[in-house]
């Protein structure tokens, strides 16, 4: 039993913690507030507390937890809302008072079906049983490896029941795992498989892989949260872990309410049943923000190990970095750039490194994809969190304030963004590769021409260049813009994305051809393009007809 000697907000110092280890859990004061050892010198520990420490005083007792900070993983996760330490928030009281301990909703029983027989061998990481009523996917209970000396019959078992003994180890439905250490896997896979997000700009121009990493930097109001929520709703992953890290409570309430309403097209259930929400809003204890990121990835790895594609969505990683800075500053660590600790870059790198598509220990294929928002102060993209993040992610969706002010959503800048996986993803799909290249070229050309037109006036440009400007407008309005409010267009499947792009490209090509055959550019510009511009709001079967209507109308100019 140790004794608290200093309390400075979340920084607590404790003496006489003999035998303690780094990252060990410590319980502080009469209310046993959880904290984690982040520095040890002899038996004197510096502890990062995960709750409000008001009233905690030097002289108060501090207890060793005996294990590193861990999260409880189990069949209860899908469909639930948890705090940064993965404690259930559902049923935890209206006001989160650390002095009032809650015994919320993990404790229930589950329908278990064994998948192996007694006496057989179960290699490490293979499934020995499944839970069917744990969300939209079968929840698999994995083997620690060894001979199955006991296994339960099909039936309902409480969450902490041992359902098997494998290799001499009891296997329970729930298990506790350290959050700072990645869960092991057999090997990484290199092959690129897309994560389809349903957002056209992303899926065609700036794709992300299963097991890839993406960051979304943007000033306030540029649409980070809406974009991440769209991906959480519509992407084709098996499991989504949505981490609200230091952001708004109303947004969390909103996303949970929406996911609970929306049907999951693949299972017929609700989208919330494939989602784990970790809510650490900006007014909740700051240090739990720091862990919530790791907790989220640990949950994702846990589902990856069952052979699923998991996506971690973190809004916002900047608030996590600020928590790092805050604690470093209180503990007197020498600051580097803008007060952030010198290990900011390595912390970011280590976090994004936990993404990947792998062969699991059990021989299955699973993945963890990480998508994080970045909130640069003053919208300044040269600040440390943004610049360091850009180094480590494979895909960047940079949001542009001017686009957002012009209500061009999603405000993804096609100039500032990149996808390092685009090449690998289209390698075996030459048709899509050429579609992507053509759209990209036209957008870049239109940008160049817009700058020129601002100087000399669009009227002064040669016909071909005026069509270049027109092409930019058609693609921006008809393809890139995608309203999250639209019933039909909030989500756009891959085949539809291709159809819309092809329709617009065909129209652009026809326009170019017309001016080459001496039709005046003004005549072309004056035609009604709304059938293709509104194709995104039309049923998929109508898109070709809309394209033809515009093409035929253009033909009358010849």
């Amino acid at each position: 039993m140790g004794t608290v000697t200093r309390v400075n907000g979340p920084l607590v110092e404790v003496r006489d913690l003999a035998g303690a280890a780094m990252f060990e859990l410590v319980l502080l004061g009469p209310y046993r507030l959880p904290g984690e050892i982040v520095r040890l010198s002899g038996s004197h520990a510096t502890v990062q507390a995960y709750e409000y420490t008001g009233g905690l005083a030097p002289g108060d007792p501090a207890d060793r937890g005996g294990a590193p900070l861990s999260a409880l993983l189990g069949p209860h996760l899908l469909g639930g809302v948890y705090d940064g330490l993965l404690r259930p928030l559902t049923g935890a009281g209206t006001w989160l008072d650390p002095a009032v301990s809650s015994s919320a909703a993990v404790a229930r029983s589950w329908q278990f079906t064994p998948l192996v027989g007694q006496g057989g061998r179960a290699a490490p990481g293979t499934a020995i049983g499944r839970v069917e009523d744990a969300g939209s996917l079968p929840y698999l209970v994995l083997s620690p490896g060894g001979e199955v000396s006991a296994i339960s019959r099909p039936g309902r078992y409480p969450h902490d029941a041992a359902v098997a003994v494998v290799g001499g180890t009891e296997v329970r439905l729930t298990r506790s795992r350290q959050v700072r250490q990645a869960l092991p896997y057999a090997s990484r896979l290199d092959e690129a498989v897309p994560l389809v997000t349903g957002q056209r700009t992303i899926d065609l121009l700036l794709p992300v892989c299963l097991g890839g990493t993406a960051a979304v930097p943007g000033g306030f109001g540029t649409g980070k949260t809406v974009l991440l929520q769209q991906i959480a709703k519509w992407c084709d992953a098996d499991v989504v872990i949505y981490v609200g890290c230091g952001e708004r409570g109303n947004e969390m309430a909103d996303v949970v309410a929406e996911l609970a309403e929306l049907p999951d097209p693949r299972t017929g259930g609700r989208l919330i049943e494939r989602t784990v929400v970790i809510a650490n809003t900006s007014n909740m204890p700051m240090m739990a923000r720091e862990t919530s990121i790791y907790t989220g990835v640990t949950v994702a790895e846990h589902f990856r190990d069952m052979g699923y594609a998991a996506v971690v969505i973190a809004d916002s990683t900047s608030r996590w970095a600020e928590a790092l800075r805050e604690f470093a500053s209180r503990s007197g660590t020498l600051p580097a750039e803008e007060g952030y600790p010198a290990d900011l870059a390595s912390a970011l790198a280590a976090f994004y490194e936990r993404a990947g598509r792998v062969v699991t220990l059990g021989g299955d294929t699973g993945s963890v994809t990480i998508i994080g928002a970045v909130s640069p102060p003053g919208g300044d993209l040269t600040e440390p969190v943004t610049t360091q993040t850009e180094r480590f992610v494979r895909t960047l969706w940079a949001l542009d304030r001017d686009l957002a002010y012009a209500r061009h959503y999603p405000a993804i800048s096609w100039r500032e963004s990149f996808s390092r996986d685009a090449g690998a993803l289209t390698r075996h799909d030459p048709e899509n590769a050429s579609r992507r290249a053509r759209v990209g070229r036209l957008l870049a050309e239109a940008d160049r021409l817009t700058t020129l037109a601002e100087l000399v006036g669009a009227g002064a440009l040669p016909a071909r260049e005026r069509i270049g400007l027109l092409a930019g407008r058609l693609l921006r309005e008809g393809f890139l813009r995608q309203s999250s409010l639209s019933v039909r267009d909030a989500y756009c499947r891959a085949s539809r994305t291709a159809l819309i792009a092809d329709a617009l490209l065909a129209v652009v090509e026809r326009c170019q051809d017309l001016v080459e055959h001496d039709v005046p550019a003004a005549a072309v510009e004056d035609r009604d393009f709304s059938p293709v511009l509104r194709a995104k709001e039309a049923p998929e079967g109508e898109i070709a007809a809309r394209r033809d209507a515009v093409l035929n109308d253009l033909e009358t100019l010849r």
């Binding site: 000697t5 200093r6 309390v7 400075n8 907000g9 110092e13 409000y52 420490t53 008001g54 009233g55 905690l56 005083a57 030097p58 002289g59 809302v81 928030l89 559902t90 049923g91 935890a92 009281g93 209206t94 006001w95 989160l96 008072d97 306030f220 109001g221 230091g246 708004r248 409570g249 109303n250 969390m252 309430a253 909103d254 949970v256 309410a257 809510a279 809003t281 900006s282 007014n283 909740m284 204890p285 700051m286 608030r319 600020e322 800075r325 805050e326 500053s329 600051p335 803008e338 007060g339 909130s375 102060p377 003053g378 919208g379 300044d380 002010y405 012009a406 209500r407 006036g457 409010l485």
Partner: protein, 457 residues
């Protein structure tokens, strides 16, 4: 609560800026409330910022002026600061620490609550869905304030943001449901405070208003408490006494300066513009105290008002505020008439949920979108006209310029003492769009146009 006299400590080791460092303390907890007794018997108040073995660092809300190291005594309350809560706050005028300035008795509550508050469990939050009507056309029509929302007002220098804040506080209502306003003023000059009180006269007679006044000449550190007291009182009025409560916090830039002062005195590592690195979290601990709770009738709506130093929206105070609030109303000098709201730079993120059918008007969202699209087009046309002359504009572009003018004169411009009904505001909004040819109004449905359009075509 305790029946024994609290321990008095006399070991003041150091006085530095707003801080007193007391030696020899025992069992003093972090964030505990302290009373500082001067030689003269005067009592001041403080909060524990750091406690290391027997040393406690106390931030003195009234400042350390006149404190002597040998003669000062300090006692600790044994817990973080609590304030009385209850209906008794309504109709009162107090200083920034909640002491009456109106000659009335001290405020005694039915209960007390910690000023730091507790975070609301995000799973009990009810997403906001109903409007607060402010009686200011530009806000009600284009950036509707929603019950349970936090919506900031940002002002460039020299603009009457306090008048607008006071006007909203004086006029706002929730259509007959129990409604209260708490106006927390921080760092206001005497002149500003007099203006604000004048404007608020209209409501304070209705006993629905609480005014907390920290003036420019008052202790700077006291401001750190003012918004927290306001919100603690508001939470009780809303979630226990079932009222809709609007909390106006003006000027948050003065609040942040106080925070910076304490941070500097503690020698903390500064982040942007010497503000502490925890400014975001500190502001969030204030702004996030808005909301509604499932199954309970009341709501807390927060309207932080701030002047942007140097008119710079990337300054840490407006920037971090913007990251937390659910939208902003921007006052710009480029808008010539009061209330100077620049509609294209303003946004209420909750508007979609709080306006429209059954809340304000069925056509509200479409009408607002149409006006904004029109203003945006008019701005482009105006820029073009500046370059090449108005004569070079198309007929349609000229109609857009006329529409922008009609907007400025007919809808936006409003007297500070003029409360407009929703009916009046919508009438004006239709007048504005009716300046455009009907064929341009692609965002409005047939039915709405049939009922509302008054143009010639």
């Amino acid at each position: 609560m305790s029946t024994w006299a609290p321990v008095e400590y006399t070991g003041v080791a150091e006085l530095r800026g707003p801080l007193v460092i007391v030696r020899g303390v025992r069992n003093v907890g972090w964030d505990e409330y302290a009373t500082i007794i001067l030689e003269s018997g005067e009592r001041r108040h403080g909060l524990v910022l750091d406690v290391d073995r027997d040393l406690a660092v106390v931030q003195v809300l009234e400042g350390t002026g006149g404190l002597g190291a040998e003669t000062t005594r300090v006692t600790f309350a044994g817990s973080p600061l609590r304030v009385p809560v209850g209906a008794g706050w309504q109709g009162r005028v107090c200083n920034g620490r909640g002491r009456p300035l109106d000659g009335g008795p001290p405020i005694l509550g039915d209960d007390s609550a910690p000023v730091a508050g507790f975070p609301m469990n995000p799973t009990v939050r009810q997403p906001p869905t109903e409007p607060v009507i402010t009686g200011v056309s530009a806000i009600d029509a284009l950036t509707t304030l929603v019950r349970g929302q936090k919506l900031a007002v940002f002002a460039e220098g020299g603009l009457p943001h306090l008048e607008l804040a006071a006007q909203v506080a004086a006029q706002a209502h929730t259509g007959g449901e129990p409604f209260s306003v708490i106006f927390a003023a921080m760092g206001l000059t005497h002149g500003d405070a007099a203006t604000v009180r004048d404007i608020l006269e209209r409501r304070s007679s209705a006993a629905e208003l609480t005014l907390l006044l920290n003036l420019a000449g008052d202790p700077v550190i006291e401001r750190l408490l003012t918004p927290r007291i306001a919100l603690t009182v508001a939470e009780h009025l809303a979630f226990v006494l079932r009222r809709h409560v609007l909390v106006v916090l003006a000027d948050m830039t003065s609040y942040c300066e106080a925070l910076r002062e304490v941070s500097a005195a503690r020698g903390e590592i500064p982040a942007r513009r010497a503000y502490p690195g925890y400014l975001y979290s500190d502001l969030a601990s204030i702004y996030e105290r808005c909301g509604r709770i499932r199954g309970r009738p009341g709501s807390v709506t927060v309207l932080p008002v701030l002047s942007m130093p140097g008119g710079d929206i990337t300054h840490p105070v407006p920037d971090l505020t913007g990251y937390i609030t659910e939208g902003q109303i921007l006052l710009s000098r480029e808008v010539p008439s009061y209330p100077h709201i620049d509609p294209l730079s303003s946004l209420s993120r909750m508007m979609r949920a709080g306006a429209g059918e059954g809340r304000t008007r069925p056509e509200h969202l479409d009408l607002a979108a149409q006006i904004l699209a029109g203003l945006s087009r008019a701005r482009q046309a105006g820029e073009l006209a500046d370059l090449v002359g108005e004569s070079a504009l198309t007929r349609t572009d000229r109609r857009y310029l006329a529409m922008a003018q009609a907007f400025l004169v007919g809808l936006l411009a409003q007297r500070p003492d003029e409360a407009r009904t929703l009916a009046d505001t919508f009438d004006r909004a239709w007048q504005v769009v009716s300046v455009l040819p009907r064929s341009e109004l692609s965002m409005l449905g047939e039915q709405a146009l049939e009922a509302g359009y008054r143009g010639q075509e």
